[in-house]
């Protein structure tokens, strides 16, 4: 079967990609700006074609716990929400990290804190990358910058989630979720007929009972488990870093930005170069694991780094750690649901940083 070219919103692409990736279940709750994911799936009614279960839960808390139940059975299950709803899911997410359950969680980020706005933002970086819920854990965090990546990262997310038995978050934003672009959709994959050995499927004769839990009363045994997680996260750091470079070969000024900000910065690099400023862009595609080594390498040859985020400056902390003080690191950000223009990024670089 051939790939198919469609014009879709990012949210719709996530939904269609989930069906085509052979997902077994989706559990969600409406919240702007991501409700199209649930709406699309309800309309597509994949239960009648692939057998994929789609259910609207009574809350984000219930939805993530339905995901927990399905994931515990070894099924490919996912949920999606936007910032306030993702906060509600944090309990379930940390339990899943603690029980080592695979799943895909999509966050179509909007401005915060609190109820905030419904416009695109990147203010949930800390929550997604540094934990969000309680306890020492990491999600694998993928940051799409196009509708194509919204679609592609669903399948990639499931692959990584099952490879590492770890929840995966697709950290998108209201712009990527709402905008329409052409997208190449993968052919329909069949739903898996087998489940991993750890899954609760009803205990057959001859195997020990499978228990999905994150509970341990003995601190020494808990520490052994914590160390096991550290080993896993280090393996993820070693194997799964993904990033993309634009015009970095001769760059003197390096921008670091992900998602929507990276698209803005790509244009800003072109505008800056037209004015004789040798700018480049590194776009992290994985936020955990963070592309520290590539940024550290580029820090050897650039004069400074400018991080551009739709936040008060969150990813900048990981950039600072990556460069170890080799070059100055500046932040330019818009907040509250405001998307920066390429011109203001260039202006900031030119007048405030280089000229300042």
């Amino acid at each position: 079967m051939e790939r198919e070219l469609r014009l879709m919103k990012g949210n719709e692409a996530v939904a269609e990609a989930a069906i085509r990736a052979g997902a077994d279940g989706y559990f969600g709750y409406p919240i702007t700006p991501q409700s199209e994911i649930l709406e699309y799936l309800m309309e597509a009614n994949p239960y009648t074609t692939t057998g994929m279960v789609v259910l609207q839960a009574e809350s984000e808390i219930a939805a993530i716990n339905m995901v927990y139940g399905g994931a515990g059975c070894g099924k490919k299950v996912m949920t999606s929400s936007s910032s306030p709803g993702i906060s509600l899911k944090q309990e379930g997410i940390t339990y899943m990290a603690g029980a080592e359950l695979p799943c895909v969680v999509v966050n179509v980020v909007r401005g915060g804190p609190g109820l905030g706005t419904i416009q695109p933002s990147q203010s949930d970086y800390f929550q997604a990358v540094k934990g969000g819920g309680h306890g020492d854990y990491h999600l694998i965090v993928l940051a799409p910058a196009s509708v194509q990546e919204m679609a592609d990262f669903v399948g990639l997310g499931f692959d990584l989630a099952f490879k590492y038995r770890n929840p995966v978050m697709i950290l998108s934003d209201g712009a990527i979720g709402q905008m329409m672009e052409k997208v190449w959709l993968s052919p329909q994959k069949e739903r898996s007929k087998t489940v991993p050995g750890w899954a609760t499927t009803g205990k057959p004769a001859g195997r020990e009972r499978n228990i999905i839990t994150s509970l341990e009363l003995d601190p020494d045994r808990q520490e052994v488990f914590n160390r096991k997680l550290v080993v896993k996260y280090n393996e993820i750091r070693a194997n799964e870093v993904r990033c993309e470079e634009f015009s970095c070969e001769d760059a003197e000024y390096l921008m670091v930005a992900y998602g929507t900000s990276a698209r803005v910065c790509q244009k800003a690099v072109e505008l800056a170069r037209a004015q004789g400023i040798k700018a480049g862009l590194l776009r992290p595609i994985t936020l955990f694991p963070f592309p520290s080594a590539p940024i550290n390498k580029l820090a050897e040859k650039v004069r400074l780094i400018l991080t551009v985020e739709m936040s008060a400056g969150q990813m900048i902390e990981d950039v600072l750690l990556s460069v170890s003080g080799k070059v100055p690191v500046y932040h330019y950000g818009r907040m509250g649901g405001v998307v920066p223009t390429p011109d203001e990024v260039v202006d900031c670089l030119k007048t405030k940083i280089i000229g300042g």
Binding site: V53, G69, C73, G202, P204, R209, I212, T213
Partner: protein, 263 residues
């Protein structure tokens, strides 16, 4: 030695009147003496064994005294976050509809922090069994007031007795879920006497059979004691339960399939 040999002659299949369920593991239960949890675990294991579900049951254990239920019954288990068991069970049953899926929850778990999950899973008519142990107290955390604590009843967070004008009234969750169209069988039982144990076992067996019909949620409340939390001996606690809990939480069926309109 002769006596032991004699015992072996007596212990023969034809003389057997009772044996431990094969589904009960060798782990020693951590419950306080006289607690209803261990009895309920035993009859649950017996029903699962007798109904041939040892390879087809997936249980969801709660947060509370029965958090380690998965150590005692030899089936596959998922441990849910506090109150979330019905949502976890929903995820399991929707994706594994051919399996027997159930939750086992206490009153704090089911009727306080998990109120939303309980009501909505019952209202959707999820084809699961919910076993609800109501002892009117938070046992594991040391005897705090529960949503089901009786008016005037003392606990570590209502040391002068539950003052309903300040702390609100006890919640009769079982009465609430019985009104929901999604529930198929709702009953309130106890396990403090042999006859009540038999009735509860029968209720669990009915819930197992009803789940096969895909008609909706089966909800079994078991009014139970908490000798440690109530600061009583097991015998005193059972008496207190009969005199105080049962008038407020009367035993019996609240909803049976026979009473439902045929469809």
């Amino acid at each position: 030695m002769k006596e032991i040999t004699g015992m072996k002659e007596i212990i023969k299949p034809e003389n057997l009147v009772y044996k431990k369920s094969e589904l009960l593991t060798e782990n020693i239960m951590h419950y306080c003496p006289g607690c209803g949890h261990s009895t309920t675990h035993r009859i649950l294991a017996e029903v699962l064994e007798e109904e041939g579900l040892r390879h087809d049951a997936i249980g969801v254990s709660p947060v509370g005294c029965s958090v380690f239920l998965y150590n005692y019954i030899d089936i596959d288990w998922q441990e849910a976050a506090h109150g979330r068991a019905p949502a976890v069970a929903t995820g399991i049953k929707r994706l594994m509809p051919e399996k027997f899926v159930f939750t086992y929850q206490g009153d704090g778990d089911l009727a306080a922090i998990g109120t939303s999950e309980t009501i909505h899973s019952c209202n959707r008519g999820e084809n699961i069994m919910i076993i609800f142990i109501n002892n009117g107290i938070y046992g594991m955390t040391g005897g705090q007031m529960a949503p089901t604590t009786l008016p005037g009843m003392k606990s570590s967070t209502s040391p002068y007795g539950r003052d309903v004008s300040i702390m609100g009234n006890p919640l009769k969750m079982t009465d609430i879920v019985a009104t929901l169209p999604g529930t198929y069988y709702v009953t309130r039982q106890s396990v403090h006497t042999p006859v009540n144990v038999r009735r509860t076992k029968r209720a669990i067996r009915k819930a197992v059979q009803y789940q096969k019909l895909n008609k909706g949620t089966c909800f079994i409340e078991i009014v139970s004691n908490c000798p440690s939390g109530w600061k009583m001996t097991p015998v005193q606690s059972n008496k207190w339960m009969e005199e105080n809990m049962f008038p407020f939480y009367p035993l019996g069926d609240l909803k049976t399939p026979e009473e439902q309109p045929a469809n």
